[in-house]
């Protein structure tokens, strides 16, 4: 604990979010999605970026890699050569027609083979009309200006735009990839930790690097030590290990113990929604026979539905455990 406080002292003055502090500035440093990233790296080196749509779940490095790509490609002329708009900027029809078009017509001195870049972050929140207006602009100015759209679901982008772009898909990061990055941050910030703590962070992040780093920072600034309890305290999620034990008890036929585990969890003040969300993730990743998994998922779904309907009582959760037990009994040879 002492070591941590002394190490953290200089950074305490300006505590910028670690997500920003450790945002990779080079494409090569972007974690995960190695295929996409390595192609983007080629673009960063050679220029001539095709119009791109980067699509994938949040926290997988879409924005990071496109920003890094723009920085690497344009270097010092980044400020002139890049127009970055995200959902917080106004991106209605007028902006597309004026701002983007004016930018596309603007003359900028760039190295050979480089183009101005328009980065439209969160492009799936653009209206259809705005996208429609973008369509022709993309084509006419393709020799000076290229577009990069980042979005969560590419289906929200209208087909004419999709047709003009190459789609780069980003998938969730693997636990190893997140861990690798966490280790770098942990080493740089001299964070005291136990491996289980990092494991807990990875669990809570669920393939989302941004979430992982935010949780790590929250834990560190809250408790100055990364272990399981602290992480789950900060993230305010029921301890998955606890939930996992519960499921294990049910499957082993120890129903009483499972129920007392649930009671403990409930007494800690977690809402049924929290518990069932964790339960779902535990069940999803639990290694069990196919039939059991299917049935357990199904029952969890129904219980979740009831809780969403407003019947979020302890009885529902106990009932769910009971149903698990019944499933087990019927399946047992």
């Amino acid at each position: 604990m002492a070591a941590s406080s002394s190490a953290a002292a200089p950074t305490d003055t300006y505590d910028i979010p670690w997500v920003e502090k450790y945002r990779p500035s080079r494409v090569a440093d972007v974690v995960g999605n190695s295929d996409a990233v390595s192609r983007l790296e080629v673009i960063a080196r050679d220029g001539n970026m095709p119009n791109l749509i980067l699509s994938g779940p949040p926290g997988t490095g879409k924005t990071t890699s496109i920003l890094a790509l723009a920085h690497e490609m344009l270097g010092p002329s980044y400020r002139e050569g890049v127009l970055e708009l995200n959902a917080s900027d106004d991106r209605g029809l007028d902006v597309v027609r004026n701002k983007i078009k004016m930018f596309a017509q603007k003359k900028v001195t760039l190295p050979p083979g480089r183009h101005k870049i328009v980065i439209l972050d969160e492009a799936d929140s653009m209206t259809t009309g705005a996208q429609q207006a973008l369509r022709r602009t993309m084509e006419i100015y393709s020799n000076t200006t290229r577009f990069a759209l980042a979005c969560n679901t590419s289906s929200k982008i209208i087909e004419p735009i999709q047709s003009r772009c190459a789609i780069v898909r980003f998938s969730r990061l693997s636990d190893q990839e997140i861990l690798g990055r966490l280790m770098v941050v942990v080493a740089a910030e001299k964070v005291p930790y136990v491996p289980e703590g990092l494991e807990a962070i990875i669990f809570t992040a669920d393939g989302d690097m941004r979430q992982a780093l935010n949780n790590l920072q929250a834990t560190v600034s809250g408790f100055r030590f990364v272990n399981q309890e602290n992480v789950f305290k900060v993230c305010d999620q029921p301890h998955p290990l606890h939930v996992k034990n519960m499921v294990k008890n049910v499957l082993d036929g120890k129903f009483d113990e499972a129920c007392s585990g649930l009671k403990q969890l409930y007494d800690l003040g977690y809402s049924p929604t929290d518990i069932i969300t964790t339960l779902f993730r535990v069940v999803k990743n639990y290694d069990m026979a196919e039939y059991l998994k299917l049935e357990l998922l199904k029952e969890t779904g129904f219980a979740h539905m009831r809780i969403c309907d407003g019947v979020g009582s302890f009885l529902q959760l106990s009932g769910l455990l009971a149903k698990f037990a019944i499933v087990r009994e019927t399946a047992k040879a």
Binding site: D94, I167, D175, K332
Partner: protein, 616 residues
């Protein structure tokens, strides 16, 4: 506005060079036209780039107006030096580098078809268009009507490219409608004293007016030798609201009825992403309007896989890139008949990351340095996803088919219970299944990028085909699971209505996830006696979509009822549907139209994925 970066300004003396910098970097030929430099051997590019230059020439003049601050002359000199340095560098670059880097154009532009032979469009369609155009070009002036052609089809099937190629072939000039430079944003902002935007619609109207007048004057201006002109309208302005739509319709109608030069209007079909998006004009509606006005219509079909492949191979050869046949095949099949997207994808996938081994090496060391084998043992289901080739392709339904195929074909390990005894307790014989010969279903689903509702509908429609004819039990099981998934998806009506208000997005997505895994796993589990693998086509679930549309419309009406009336519950459905809706339609016919059409369209276009349950 504050975020807008300052313009780099080049004074008029080296304005041309400045233009050359940003435009000319794409092609050496453009540079040649402006500076006295030794001509690089890129004659093939000349026609296309000169055409582009013409277009830029007109628009650039006004664009320069925006960059009006004069630059200090001291920095100008330095800039000029840098420019020339860059220029020589660029020339050297030209000499040394291989064909791969000769031009910095998009391949879509670079390999734009210049002749009819290069078009990937079906020969017959090209012939149709060509015949029509030739007929019109030869026809005597003065006849009214029948001078316009509407080309429809989905995005990237070569509508405009065909017209351009034909025009080049028969030596006609193209007169294109390109949206003019808009009123400056800043101008509008600072001159708030009522300086109006010229709306795109007005500009379009002016353009149409010009075409009409021009064509009337036309025969007198040139004597016997008639110059061939084709007008191409590619970019119909986006309108919002009924009034402007009506104006656009009127404008187009008058254009079609009075134009006297062959006018080609290209309309792109696309599926609307949101059912309630009434702001946009609807391509079907516009199309029928144009046809009523007397335009000839030619529908372009998606480009066939084989011709896309042919084009892609040709490009590969010209770029001398080493792409595998497999990749080309995959791009061609997954682009859905969209040649432009296929070429874009090819350009992206031809970026060869193998020359950059450092990236892979670093990521590999990162992986090695982890050293926590025990970590998260249950959750490695995502870990392989990065190593898998990322799916290319424009439309998600295509990768969806891949996932569906996996679920439906249900490939499993053939040899008996190898892994069963690993489990903690024995299962009943009939509940045992051999391990799957695929990834975890959840992972496949997450990679399929499909909406859960679509997955469930498709599974429902097709699952029976894949079950052995005698295995009725299996069909029971599968259907019961699918029905449960459906139930989970829909939720109770109360929840689905309330989600709009207070329920977080997360819980919605969680029930979606569960429903997806129940549906997929249910099909996998239930189909114990898979029928022999023969060829099945996967049908699109029309019936279920109609049902779903019905349900969603009902939901919508319900919502509207809550929205509009201050006394909810006082009217029932039949009253709304039978009395109020027709009345509404009667008072404002336009406002009802799009909704009606979009519902119809939803049923029609099987892949459109409006998930109203989720949306509302």
């Amino acid at each position: 506005m504050g975020k807008r970066p300052p313009l780099v300004v080049l004074s008029s003396s080296d304005d041309d060079d400045g233009g050359g910098r940003c435009t000319g970097s794409r092609a050496p030929s453009a540079r040649r036209t402006r500076t006295p430099a030794p001509p690089p051997p890129a004659a093939k590019q000349a026609p296309s780039s000169s055409r582009k230059k013409l277009r830029r020439g007109s628009s650039g003049g006004r664009g320069r107006r925006g960059a009006s601050d004069p630059a200090p002359s001291g920095s100008l000199k330095a800039e000029f030096d840098m420019l020339s340095e860059d220029f020589t560098e660029c020339l050297n670059d030209l000499g040394t580098s291989g064909s791969m880097h000769q031009t910095k154009e998009l391949w879509v532009d670079k390999y734009r078809p210049h002749s009819l032979a290069e078009l990937a469009v079906h020969k017959k369609k090209v012939e149709d268009v060509k015949k029509w155009l030739e007929e019109k070009l030869m026809a005597p002036k003065g006849t009214h009507g029948g001078w316009s052609l509407v080309l429809t089809g989905q995005a990237g099937v070569g509508k405009s490219a065909t017209v351009k190629a034909i025009a080049a072939e028969i030596g006609a000039d193209m007169c294109e409608w390109t949206t003019p430079v808009p009123t400056l944003w800043a101008e509008h902002m600072h001159a708030s004293s009522g300086l109006q935007y010229v709306s795109k619609l007005e500009e379009f109207e002016n353009f149409v007016e010009k075409i009409r007048k021009f064509s009337l004057l036309f025969p007198t201006t040139i004597g016997s030798q008639r110059k061939l002109i084709i007008a191409l309208i590619d970019d119909i302005p986006v309108t919002s609201g009924n009034a402007s739509l009506a104006r656009l319709g009127k404008c187009l109608t008058s254009l079609i009825q009075s134009t006297q030069i062959p006018t080609v209007i290209s309309l792109t079909h696309y599926h609307k992403s949101e059912a309630n998006d009434t702001a946009m004009w609807n391509s079907e509606e516009l199309e029928s309007l144009l046809q009523r006005a007397g335009a000839h219509k030619i529908v372009f079909n998606p480009v066939t896989i084989s011709s896309i492949k042919k084009i892609l191979f040709r490009i590969c050869k010209q770029e001398s890139s080493s792409t595998t046949e497999e990749l080309v095949h995959e791009i061609a099949t997954s682009c859905g008949g969209d040649i432009r997207h296929a070429i874009m994808s090819l350009q992206y996938y031809c970026l060869n990351p193998r020359r950059l081994n450092s990236a892979l090496a670093t990521s590999a060391t990162l992986l090695e340095s982890t050293g926590f084998g025990a970590l998260a043992q249950g959750q490695d289901c995502y870990s392989r996803s990065s190593s898998m080739p990322s799916p290319c392709g424009r439309d998600e339904t295509l990768t969806l088919f891949h996932a569906l195929g996996k679920f439906l074909h249900n490939k499993r390990e053939s040899h008996g219970d190898v892994n069963i005894d690993l489990d903690s307790f024995p299962l009943k014989e009939k509940l045992r299944r051999n391990p799957l010969k695929m990834d975890v279903p959840e992972m496949i689903l997450s990679q399929a990028h499909g909406k859960v509702r679509t997955v469930a509908d498709f599974l429902h429609e097709n699952a029976l085909d894949f079950i052995d004819d005698d295995a009725v039990d299996d069909a029971w099981v599968v259907m019961s699971y699918l029905s449960e998934a459906d139930c989970l998806l829909a939720g109770s009506p109360i929840t689905s209505a309330r989600w709009t208000v207070n329920e977080s997005n997360e819980s919605g997505s969680m029930s979606q996830l569960i429903a997806a895994s129940v549906a997929a796993r249910g099909v996998l589990f239930g189909n114990a006696h898979a029928s022999l693998s023969r060829w099945h086509t996967i049908r699109s679930p029309k019936v279920w979509q109609i049902e779903r549309t019905f349900r969603s419309t009902k939901d919508q009406i319900l919502n509207e009822r809550f929205d509009c009336s201050s006394t909810p519950g006082s009217r029932n459905f039949s009253e709304i549907v039978n009395d109020f809706r027709p009345f509404e339609r009667w008072i404002c016919p336009r406002s009802y139209m799009p909704r009606n059409v979009s519902v119809h369209h939803d049923v029609d276009g099987n892949n459109s994925e409006e998930d109203v349950i989720e949306d509302c």
